[in-house]
């Protein structure tokens, strides 16, 4: 947990964290020692020696003053760290996340991230402000009291010390069972949640096939499995938690028994025993209190772990001395291979050169590595081996912003900001003149969208662009790329060509873009493929064929087969009657 606390606070705060923990421990020890003074004080009181009692009370008051000072310092230090979390953790999280490779952002991660960044940070704040102190003192105070007892009366001291391992083992036993069951329960919960989300996300399909009416067996099984896992967790862990708590009570009972036995056999003064038993009660109290916080501490621990995990994710390394591009518009792959997971290469042995102002079409079946190539150009990931050069310089040797300045992507996932249509296009180049962005918008077919919208260009597009259809979002994305006037344009045609209209705009944009930019297109439409200077055919992550349309047709290989297949598809007529 200390490691996670350090991670969440950040390196600059490690010293303060240590000092806080030191004061926290000092306060706990001082408080325990103050409480230990109860024994001589109560002894004097019960013996009727009031002068002695007043003297001990004075000593206790002095110790209390010191304890209060320590308590005040540790509280204020804890609050200060809580404020550090409150004021800086969000920012540090943002800075860190912004430096992570884009490949990191799966939808699952994004959901977890938002949760961690909102309620997780509040829990971490609370940890320093309120939670850590009772837990630490709940363990330290009894430990110091047990040691002090050894000095006050060896029989009770030895008993207390002998009971400690018992208490520890019992709690460990319970904690292990909880941890073990937690994994099972978490696993079952994850499966059930995924089933519910699958059910929600694929509602059209489930509805179309009647599953919403007649039930979907795997979903019900998953919910049932989760219920069973939760039930068995309760059945398995509760006896142990009870036993763990009972061990504390048992320790107290044994102390009482040993004390009474000694007192009744005359080896301990009854007055002293009564005073010692009062101390024994304070031995048990803090432990129970620490246990009472366990539920909250577990929640806080989980939040803390998630936050620490995010902060521990290595960011994309940035070069110490970035190099500027030397040959604008040139993109090269030099013996590139890449794998998302070790041993499962997605692309391998890729040697490609995209000269400035050329147009290259990449074709191949899905999973052949087409979009991976584009992602490597944008440095969503770093290559496993080889080199990707943009503008003549390895992408890893360039400043992230400088690399992106050379690229204009039109990718499958288009995100629009909850802002006006105009602002979303202007993202392409904020300092563009009105004429320039209007021209880009016209070319990409956004003008027609604006015409239809109630407030034209100033219509807000909703969170994520929810007010526009998929094809319309793509056009906005196309307009951004046109406006950016970057030397390299990366275009994934797959979704851009949702319908005939979009297809037309894509074609027009391609014609326009290739005048000034290097164009790399994942092509699906024959016209686009045929318009390219060069066609690269990918198969299983490797380059199968490469050349012009005519060369590849003459080769009569995979491309030729693809071409003929496509011609056949174009020639198909879907009809209810006249099919073979």
């Amino acid at each position: 947990m200390l490691g996670e606390l350090k991670q969440v606070l950040g390196p600059a705060q490690h010293g303060r964290l240590y000092r806080y923990l030191a004061w926290l421990c000092a306060w706990s020890v001082l408080e325990a020692l103050t409480v230990v003074l109860l024994v001589p004080l109560l002894g004097a009181l019960l013996h009727g020696d009031f002068d002695q009692a007043w003297r001990w009370l004075l000593a206790m008051a002095g110790m209390t003053a010191v304890t209060c000072v320590a308590r005040y310092i540790q509280s204020m230090r804890g609050f200060a760290l809580a404020l550090v979390i409150l004021e800086t953790l969000h920012g540090r999280l943002g800075d860190h996340v912004a430096r992570l490779p884009l490949g990191w952002f799966s939808s699952e991660k994004v959901g977890r991230l938002s949760r961690s960044a909102t309620s997780g940070t509040m829990m971490a704040t609370n940890l320093f402000a309120h939670l850590l102190a009772p837990v630490v003192s709940g363990v330290l105070v009894p430990a110091v009291i047990a040691l002090a007892m050894l000095w006050l009366d060896w029989r009770l001291g030895v008993t207390a010390l002998l009971c400690s391992p018992l208490i520890y083992v019992a709690h460990r036993w319970a904690a292990d069972a909880i941890a073990r069951n937690d994994d099972v329960v978490d696993g079952a919960a994850a499966i059930a949640s995924n089933r519910v989300v699958e059910f929600a996300r694929n509602q059209h399909t489930f509805c179309a096939f009647g599953r919403t009416e007649e039930g979907y067996a795997p979903l019900e099984a998953a919910i049932d499995a989760q219920r069973v896992a939760g039930g068995s967790m309760l059945a398995q862990t509760f006896p142990r938690i009870l036993a763990g708590g009972l061990s504390v009570q048992l320790a107290f009972a044994v102390l009482v028994a040993v004390g009474l036995w000694s007192a009744l056999h005359g080896s301990i003064d009854p007055v002293r025993l009564v005073a010692l038993l009062a101390l024994a009660a304070r031995f048990v109290g803090p432990l129970a209190e620490a246990a009472a916080h366990s539920g909250l501490v577990r929640i806080a621990e989980n939040d803390l772990r998630r936050l620490a995990d995010i902060l521990a994710t290595p960011p994309l390394p940035e070069p110490a001395t970035p190099r500027a591009a030397t040959e604008p518009g040139l993109v090269e792959f030099d013996a590139v291979s890449f794998a998302y997971r070790d041993g499962e290469p997605v692309v391998g042995g890729i040697d490609l050169r995209f000269p400035p102002r050329s147009m290259t079409a990449i074709v191949g079946a899905s999973g052949s590595g087409k979009s991976t190539l584009l992602k490597l150009v944008m440095r969503f990931f770093d290559v496993g081996s080889g080199q990707v050069r943009v503008g003549g310089v390895d992408v890893r040797e360039q400043d992230g912003a400088a690399l992106m300045a050379q690229l204009a992507p039109v990718m499958q996932d288009v995100y629009l900001f909850d802002d006006t249509l105009e602002a979303n296009i202007r993202i392409g180049r904020p300092d563009a003149s009105d004429a320039e962005w209007r021209e880009a918008a016209r070319l990409a077919g956004v003008e027609e969208i604006a015409d239809r919208l109630p407030e034209a260009w100033t219509t807000r597009v909703g969170e994520g662009g929810s007010a526009l259809s998929g094809g319309e979002r793509q056009r906005v994305s196309l307009a951004r790329a046109l406006l950016k006037k970057a030397p390299v344009v990366l275009l994934d045609e797959a979704t851009a060509a949702l319908d005939a209209e979009n297809e037309r705009f894509v074609q027009e944009a391609v014609v326009r873009l290739r005048r000034d930019a290097t164009l790399i297109v994942i092509a699906h439409q024959l016209p686009t493929v045929m318009a390219a200077d060069r066609i690269v055919v990918l198969d299983g992550g490797r380059i199968a064929e490469s050349g012009t349309h005519d060369e590849l047709i003459a080769l009569d290989g995979r491309y030729a087969a693809f071409w003929h297949e496509r011609r056949r598809a174009k020639g198909w007529r879907l009809t209810a009657k006249a099919v073979s």
Binding site: H90, H204, G210, L246, R282, E472, A569
Partner: protein, 585 residues
């Protein structure tokens, strides 16, 4: 959302397990009461021991009572937590079921990208957040009420002045607490509001990060995020910072050493005045230090409690989405005809997407819906399987309004092939049998063959038992053919196809066309066409524009007349336009 609404939502959600929770609360209260027993017992033990000749039997009896009281107390607290954990466990299971049931009953129009995130949050995080409230909070609260009351009552029973002595330092903290919490409601509303902005900023920041990086706008979203978190941090810190010193100082009033010193000083003085005996003070000291701890534990769970209330509000929101109304007297369609009568529809109830659509699709014919994006063709098609209910007019299947057909029967009449294929996590066979879980193996294989996917499935590591996404890694086109086979197996007389080739790999497109054509045979088919080439021989082509039918006829007829269809046809066949361009370059 306001606290009040959250609390109400919570109460409603927890009603089914309220018996268990009540049991837990009583047990928790008893457990808290018995926590006092050892202190009372120790005092009695001291009374019995500190006499000239202690009665050993009495001493042992008291000791046994103390030990048994401890065990009983712990047992009660344990039982209390067990009951509330059981309640939480049952509540989660029943809520999850209720959510699924609701998810299956709401109109499809409710679903969007946003809501799937909301559903995930509700089923994963919100249910977890409820845990603390159900399983811990009430038991803690019961203890925090029962223990101080009983402790003070016990001290009053010995001597009322001792009770006063025990709570002597409380007003210091109570006054400070009241001062710190003044305007708490307003502050919380303000903080909730800026916290909401933080959440929104985070979502925009992480979702838009690719765009942000690609267009060198790193500053933009980052700045919005920094602004939001900065405002929140400053507001919160600005509120609590002046209070921290006060909190740190006044909370000492409830700390063990301070209470000890005050109790002992006051007590010794009282003994001196002859009001109490030393052992009475002994009892007071033991009890006085225990009481404040429970109160503080309660105070610290406020964050978790707030979180749970917000979670309950969101769960409640999900559970109260109105379901699609069901027919009281369901009717059975007579045939496979589909008729639209003066249909009007708007997603938001205002901006009509469809308006005055009249259309008849006879059994055994193929109707193609065409038009530019936003024309309403997908919406029109989606009204047939009743994904949405019309606002105006009606949609009839086999002469019966779809709203009068039992939803359980409707899907046996209407099949729907989506543009984006949705495969579920399960084996290939599970996916194929989705619409007909009882289909035989032979029927399943026949459907797969007809959809040109059988060979591919057989080539998978475990054939039909391969699990989608694990050892059945399918390309987009293959997944599409699988979904077509699924549709064939479901064997519905009416079929709605969102022309399924847009996302396909070029290589598998021809095969998909083959599969679709075998699916279309002998059924009433409505195709949402994105590419006109594939539907030129449809029995009828319906051209939609801004929610209205503007043209209607066969390909040749439509092409012959000047109109939107001819323009669409020319826009969709740019091959001729691109060829010259290629020569220029």
């Amino acid at each position: 959302m306001s606290d009040n609404a959250g609390t109400q939502a919570l109460a409603a959600l927890r009603r089914p397990v309220s018996g268990l929770v009540r049991g837990g609360v009583w047990m928790g209260a008893i457990g808290a009461l018995t926590a006092l027993l050892p202190f009372v017992g120790l005092t009695e033990l001291a009374r019995a021991l500190l006499v000239p000749a202690p009665d050993v039997g009495r001493v042992v009896t008291i000791a046994l009572i103390v030990v048994m009281g401890l065990a009983l107390g712990w047992g009660c607290t344990g039982l209390a937590l067990w009951l509330t954990h059981l309640a939480d466990h049952r509540l989660q299971a029943s809520l999850r079921r209720a959510m699924v049931e609701r998810l299956g009953a709401v109109p499809l129009g409710w679903y969007s990208d946003k809501t799937s995130g909301q559903v995930r949050k509700a089923v994963q995080d919100d249910l977890t957040d409820l845990h603390h409230l159900t399983a811990h909070h009430d038991v803690e609260l019961a203890g925090a009420i029962a223990l101080p009351i009983a402790g003070i009552a016990y001290l009053c029973w010995i001597d009322w002045r001792l009770a006063v002595l025990a709570v002597l330092t409380w007003p210091i903290y109570a006054a400070a607490y009241a001062w710190m919490m003044r305007g708490f409601g307003d502050k919380m509303t303000q903080l909730d509001e800026s916290f909401g902005k933080v959440s929104a900023a985070i979502v925009e920041f992480v979702h838009g990060i690719a765009v942000v990086k690609a267009f060198g706008q790193g500053q933009r979203a980052h700045k919005a995020y920094d602004d939001a978190v900065g405002t929140f941090g400053r507001r919160y810190a600005g509120w609590v910072r002046p209070l921290l010193r006060l909190e740190a100082l006044t909370s000492m009033a409830l700390s063990v050493p301070v209470i000890l010193v005050v109790s002992l000083a006051g007590g010794i003085w009282m003994i001196g005045r002859g009001w109490i005996a030393p052992l009475d003070l002994f009892a007071e000291v033991l009890v006085a230090v225990v009481i404040p701890q429970t109160l503080q534990a309660l105070n610290q769970s406020i964050t978790a409690q707030k979180r749970a209330q917000a979670a309950a509000g969101r769960i409640e929101e999900l559970l109260t989405v109105s379901p699609l109304p069901r027919p009281v007297h369901p009717e059975e369609p007579a045939d496979a005809s589909v008729v639209f009568e003066d249909v009007g529809f708007a997603y938001d109830g205002q901006n009509a997407v469809l308006d005055g659509v009249d259309l008849v699709c006879h059994p055994g014919t193929l109707t193609a819906l065409v038009g530019s994006s936003g024309a309403g063709k997908s919406t029109l098609a989606r009204l047939v399987p009743r994904f949405y209910d019309v606002d105006k007019g009606r949609v009839r299947i086999g002469g019966v309004d779809v709203r009068h057909i039992d939803p359980r029967r409707l899907y046996r009449h209407v099949g729907f092939v989506l543009q984006d294929v949705q495969l579920v996590h399960g084996s290939v066979a599970d996916n194929l049998r989705l619409g007909r879980p009882d289909a035989s193996e032979a029927e399943m294989i026949e459907a797969a063959r007809a959809a040109r996917i059988h060979e591919r499935i057989v080539a998978l590591p475990r054939g039909y038992d391969s699990v989608v996404g694990e050892d059945a890694v399918l390309s987009g086109g293959e997944a599409q053919r699988l979904s077509i086979a699924r549709m064939l197996l479901a064997d519905t007389p009416i079929l709605v196809l969102d022309e399924a080739t847009a996302h396909a790999d070029p290589e598998s497109e021809a095969q998909i066309q083959d599969a679709l054509s075998s699916l279309a045979r002998d059924r009433t088919v409505i195709v949402i066409a994105h590419r006109l080439a594939s539907i030129v021989s449809a029995d009828r082509i319906v051209v939609l524009d801004q929610g209205r039918i503007v043209q209607n006829g066969r390909h040749e007829e439509l092409l012959a007349s000047e109109g939107p269809y001819r323009r669409l046809w020319q826009a969709g066949h740019p091959t001729q336009d691109v060829e010259p361009e290629r020569k220029i370059s």
